[in-house]
């Protein structure tokens, strides 16, 4: 994968393979290209060169919403939620495929009622699973930063078959106890539903206990990958953090 912003090489021939059904950690100092990579995988940016293969299918030329429908879900560093919707609705919104989504079919209740009912039921189960059920009727303005992160985790699970969830710093701005809670929920989802995760995280001490694999980036390149402990102790990684 190659991406340049003018003279800046944001991604310089980055090649990654995210193991299916695992939690992969992506680390690197600021400016190493992590968020650019997340933006390219989710379709916000188009790469200058390279391909994104999702489950054997080339999705490089698909728009963001089309990738979502293929099972590629993305969360943001600062939670982005619909401010006018309550927790349950914010989660339910993420399920795609409602037969009432057409301009005409939306007016025919019979065609979408069952799907809508199942969606709300599943949203209720999902927020129970992520332990925010008691907040089901709260609007985002009434939630703490950590609760919003958990809501985003819950939302990631709503598509019928999420293949991979990209999480950008899921524990930023959250106290250590809740940060562990968030990673615990991510691991629960991963273990029980076999959903693949790619997680960008700066709090390595917390993240390392929950992930299966790790990539480290610096100056737009992958400098190490493998077992999380091994990557963290790699001299090139230590140098990139100290030097960066």
């Amino acid at each position: 994968m190659v991406k340049n912003f003018g003279a800046l090489k944001a991604l310089d021939r980055v090649n990654m393979e995210i193991p299916r059904g695992k939690i992969t950690l992506l680390i690197g100092p600021n400016g190493s290209g992590k968020t650019t990579l997340m933006n390219i995988i989710s379709g916000v940016y188009k790469p200058d060169a390279g391909k994104i293969i999702l489950d054997g299918e080339d999705v490089t030329n698909l728009d963001t919403h089309e990738r979502f429908r293929k099972g590629l879900v993305r969360n943001f560093q600062i939670p982005r939620l619909f401010q006018g919707l309550i927790t349950l609705e914010n989660v339910a919104f993420a399920r795609y495929g409602n037969p009432g989504e057409g301009v005409i079919s939306g007016t025919m209740k019979r065609r979408w009622f069952k799907f809508e009912y199942e969606t709300l039921k599943r949203a209720a189960e999902t927020i129970t699973f992520t332990k925010i059920r008691h907040l089901w009727d709260k609007k985002p303005s009434e939630l703490s930063g950590g609760q919003m992160k958990l809501l985003e985790v819950a939302r990631s699970l709503m598509p019928d078959e999420p293949k991979i969830v990209l999480m950008d710093e899921p524990t930023s701005g959250v106290n250590p106890v809740l940060a562990h809670e968030i990673f615990q929920r991510i691991r629960d989802v991963n273990r029980k539903r076999r959903v693949t995760f790619l997680v960008v995280e700066h709090r390595l001490d917390i993240a390392v206990g929950y992930v299966d694999y790790a990539y480290a980036m610096a100056f737009g390149k992958v400098i190490a990958h493998g077992e999380p402990e091994a990557v963290l102790n790699d001299p090139r990684v230590i140098e990139s953090y100290l030097g960066g």
Binding site: S42, V44, D63, T64, H65, F68, R69, V73, R74, F76, R80, L81, F82, Q83, G84, F93, A94, Y96, N98, G100, E101, G102, V103, G106, T107, W112, R155, P159
Partner: protein, 334 residues
């Protein structure tokens, strides 16, 4: 109270205000979805006036007909909506995709406006009337049915326009709140990036918003044409001032407030100016021995003056005012 305007004038003012409301609502819709201030919006509305003129010549040339109040708005909605989609997909979206900002896009809409005015003028000049020799400058008010009501004779369009504005607003509200596509549109308006990563085809939402916006303008234009002195696309140059005034008074980022803002500006322009004119010329000037003069030609001063006043006291327009606070105050007083 001899200076009060008569019923016909009041109804004409309400009709004009309703048309401005529809136009301002459409303008706010495309602004709130695609952040494009569309200066061609009133001329897109003139497509409706063009459709009406053609229908008068080809179908309803024998005289007034109530049928025209169905055919003209429906055809105008579709044609003006289609043009708005064409404008968005072929001109505005490629320009926006190439990184042009709000200013560049706004100037591009000026260019489209001038091109469209010329195309419509050319067509009205070039198309040979079948039953009416000269289409450009045609006064179509003669084809507006007359209704006898409460002792006055009203043009039917004065009644149809407010009804059309109410029905279209209700339909739009139903679309936004009761259909899944409407929910997707609201989500896109609130947070386009999030809507996109949640699987909403935001491009489709933008395109549909331009279609609706153009359609509303077309309906307003087709029915307003009955009140215009003659069918000329150049009229849009003046109407767009009031349309923007309406959107700004309402609060440019709020669709329904655009409707209210447009309605208020329309009433101020027609009814407000009429009242002021009557008050001055019939009461004040004779009493004080001052020279009388017609204020009717200065109606745009009312709308622009209102914009200045509103922006001074409510920078975000009427939508930004905490109405709940004032309502609570009133409740406490009473």
């Amino acid at each position: 109270m001899g200076f009060l305007p008569n019923g016909t004038f009041v109804m004409a003012s309400i009709a004009y205000a309703s048309a401005l409301g529809l136009l301002s609502m459409g303008l706010s819709l495309t602004f709130v979805t695609t952040r494009i201030a569309n200066f061609a919006h009133a001329t897109i509305g003139m497509i409706g006036a063009f459709v009406l003129t053609l229908l008068v010549d080809r179908v309803y040339y024998t005289g007034p007909s109530y049928q025209i109040f169905i055919t003209a708005p429906v055809l105008s909605f579709l044609l003006a909506g289609a043009f708005a989609v064409f404008m968005y997909i072929v001109i505005m979206k490629p320009l926006a995709d190439r990184g042009n900002g709000v200013t560049e896009l706004m100037i591009a809409t000026f260019a489209v406006d001038i091109i469209l005015i010329n195309i419509l003028s050319y067509l009205l000049n070039a198309i040979r009337g079948v039953h009416i020799p000269k289409l450009i400058g045609l006064n179509v008010s003669s084809w507006d049915a007359r209704i006898h009501c409460c002792g006055v004779i009203l043009q039917a369009s004065y009644i149809v326009l407010p009804i059309a504005a109410i029905l279209l607003t209700l339909a739009f509200h139903f679309f936004l709140t009761k259909t899944k596509f409407g929910v997707a549109m609201r989500a896109t308006i609130e947070n386009p990036d999030l809507a996109e990563v949640m699987g909403v085809n935001t491009n489709m939402v933008y395109t549909v918003s331009w279609f609706i916006s153009g359609g509303l303008a077309g309906v307003a234009g087709s029915l307003l044409a009955f009140s215009l002195k003659d069918t000329s696309p150049n009229d849009s140059a003046l109407i767009i001032v009031s349309v923007f005034a309406g959107s700004i008074v309402g609060g440019l980022s709020h669709v329904y407030w655009g409707l209210i803002g447009g309605f208020i500006v329309g009433l101020m322009e027609k009814l407000g100016t009429g009242l002021l004119d009557n008050f001055y010329n019939q009461l004040l000037a004779p009493a004080l021995g001052w020279t009388s003069f017609s204020m009717i030609n200065y109606e745009k001063l009312m709308s622009l003056g209102l914009v200045v006043v509103i922006l001074l006291f409510a920078p975000e327009g009427l939508a930004g005012v905490d109405w709940g606070k004032y309502l609570r105050k009133i409740k406490r007083r009473w």
